[in-house]
Symmetry: C2
Subunit: 135 residues, 2 copies
C-alpha cells in the first residue's frame, strides 16, 4: 500500500507529514490551486504553513512528482497525472479537465516528425482546448 511514501522515497525526498498531506490533497482534489491544497489540509486535520506548501510544491514539480498547469485565465494549478495528456479549459471559469487521447498524440508526433520548425527543438506538445463543459 504505502504508495505515497514510496514515491517520495524513490525521488530521494524526506518523508514528512506535510509532504504526504500535500500529495494526498493533489490526488484527492481535481487540479487544485496552492490555496485549495492549504484549505483541504487544514480542514482535514493538521495545520500547515503557506510557505511550506509553496516550497513543497516546487520541490515536487522539480522532482517530477506533479506538474504545474496554468489555466487559460492564468491561475496556477497542480496536476498529479504524469502521463502525456492535454487539457480542456472552460471559457467561462478557470476549471480544467484532463484530456487523454493517444490517437491524437500519434497524429501529432507523426506530423512534427516530418515537419520541422526552424530554429526550434520541440520537447513537449500540449493542446489547450477551450470551450464549454456540459454537465
Amino acid at each position: 500500500m504505502n504508495k505515497i511514501n514510496d514515491k517520495l522515497r524513490d525521488k530521494g525526498l524526506k518523508i514528512t507529514p506535510q509532504r504526504i498531506s500535500i500529495l494526498e490533497a493533489i490526488y484527492n482534489l481535481n487540479h487544485p490551486t496552492a490555496d485549495d491544497i492549504i484549505k483541504y489540509i487544514r480542514q482535514q486535520h493538521s495545520n500547515i504553513a503557506t510557505g511550506t506548501v509553496y516550497k513543497v510544491l516546487d520541490t515536487f514539480v522539480k522532482n517530477d512528482l506533479i506538474k504545474k498547469v496554468i489555466t487559460d485565465k492564468g491561475v496556477v494549478k497542480y496536476d498529479g497525472l504524469l502521463t502525456n495528456h492535454h487539457h480542456l479549459h472552460s471559457s467561462k471559469s478557470d476549471e480544467i479537465k484532463d484530456y487523454i487521447d493517444e490517437e491524437l498524440d500519434h497524429i501529432l508526433t507523426a506530423y512534427f516528425k516530418k515537419k520541422k520548425i526552424t530554429n526550434f527543438e520541440i520537447e513537449e506538445i500540449s493542446l489547450q482546448i477551450k470551450g464549454k463543459f456540459n454537465k
Copy 2:
C-alpha cells in the same frame, strides 16, 4: 495610414493618446507584458498610469483588438496577432513566439470533426509547443 485610429474607431472606442500608445507598443514589441508596455511608453515619450494600462488592455481584449496569452511559466502577455495561431514556449525562459501552420489547423479541425469530446463543446484549440529556441 492611420490604421490604429481606424481600429479603435471600428470598435466604437474613443481615440485617446494612451490607447494609441498602448496599441503601438503591442505592435512594436514581441508579446509584451503589461510592464513592458508601460516601460516602452514611458521611455518613448509621455507618462502613463499603470492602472490605465491594465484597464485599456482589458478593454482591448474584450473588444477583440488583442489577445491575452499566458506563458508556460504563468506570465501574462499580450498578442496583437489575431488570426488563428499557436505558440512556441521556451522551456527555459518565459519567451514565446507565434507559430502559424494552416496545414496543422486543417488536420486538427478534421480530427475533432469526427472525434467528439463527451460533455464538452470546443470553441478554440491552441497548441502549446514547449522546447528550445536555437538562435
